[in-house]
């Protein structure tokens, strides 16, 4: 899958590397700021009150 992605990308190796790094940064941003907070709400038990 990733090998195929590498071959599909245009340009010399450093252009492909640059594109991949940008893609990786976009994916990490989405995970860190949107996906993980949402998952954290679902899986992390948060009990801080006395009741």
């Amino acid at each position: 899958m990733y090998g195929a992605l590498w071959r599909v990308l245009p340009g010399p190796w450093w252009v492909r590397l640059l594109i991949l790094l940008v893609l990786l940064a976009a994916v990490l941003y989405g995970l860190f700021f949107y996906v993980f907070p949402w998952v954290s709400d679902l899986v992390y038990p948060s009990e801080v009150t006395v009741e």
Partner: protein, 264 residues
């Protein structure tokens, strides 16, 4: 024999490798599984070390915006804050604290500042201690029907310690006498950290007007801050207490010195 077989083996190996250059189903599944494993590890790292910094910074920014909005539009003088009680040798004058109405659920009515936990520590405080409505999306929550800031009795608030911005992550590291300042539209209520104790999750007596003393009439003005203990766990609760020191109305003289001078 071997000299004849070896080229064949190489050829078969090459043939065997050939399909992998394309996209095979097994290859894609393998890549996805590896990716999923990396994402799960990333989530653990995020939950433990990164997420609280990101969300906490957002909450602090929101608290600072709230504070800035109050600074830009000073409201009418507080209803009961007219008689100056004591005047500190330095810094702005103090006064009798005005009584605030109980906030609505998830209504932001204050910003909590604890200089020991950072000069930019400014978490919003809203009504209610519901995780889904107040503690998760806003920051700190006020136990309904406990006292309001500066009033005789127990002003009780709750906050996360290991998730959702973790405003009370370092609550147990407070030093005796550290300032806990509750900033509202009218002014600043300064409390001084007194002690910490650990109770069972059902230890609701910490919310009594005089904490842990049922059926005793309150005479002191206490702040109670509850969070989970151990961090990332929930078998106990960490309870931090503070004692009211002074109220500083919002005037041209600016915020109280307790915000800048740290521990008393």
């Amino acid at each position: 024999m071997q000299t004849v077989q070896e080229p064949q083996t190489r050829r078969t190996r090459r043939r065997g490798r050939a399909p992998q250059r394309g996209v095979s189903v097994v290859g894609v599944i393998g890549d996805l599984l590896v990716t999923a494993g990396v994402v799960v590890l990333l989530f653990v790292v995020w939950q433990l070390w990164i997420g609280d910094a990101i969300i906490g910074a957002q909450f602090k920014d929101q608290g600072q915006e709230l504070s800035d909005s109050w600074a830009l539009e000073p409201s009418a003088p507080a209803p009961a804050a007219s008689s100056p009680a004591t005047s500190a040798p330095t810094g702005p004058p103090t006064a009798d604290p005005p009584a605030l109405p109980q906030p609505g659920d998830a209504e932001r009515f204050a910003v909590v500042r604890i200089p020991r936990l950072g000069p930019d520590y400014s978490f919003p405080l809203a009504g209610g201690v519901s995780a889904s409505r107040t503690l998760d999306p806003i920051g700190l929550g006020h136990y309904p029907d406990t006292a309001m800031p500066g009033q005789v009795g127990n002003f009780a608030i709750a906050g996360h310690r290991g998730s959702h911005g973790a405003p009370f992550a370092d609550l147990p590291s407070l030093h005796i006498g550290d300032a806990v300042v509750v900033e509202t539209e009218q002014g600043w209520y300064t409390y001084r950290f007194r002690n910490i104790e650990y109770v069972r999750p059902n230890g609701v007596d910490v919310l009594l007007p005089l904490p842990q003393q049922p059926q005793v009439e309150a005479t002191d003005r206490i702040i109670t801050m509850t969070t989970c203990s151990p961090r990332y766990g929930f078998s106990e609760r960490a309870i931090a207490y503070g004692v009211f020191e002074s109220y500083t109305p919002r005037t041209e003289a600016g915020p109280p010195t307790s915000l800048t001078s740290g521990a008393a």
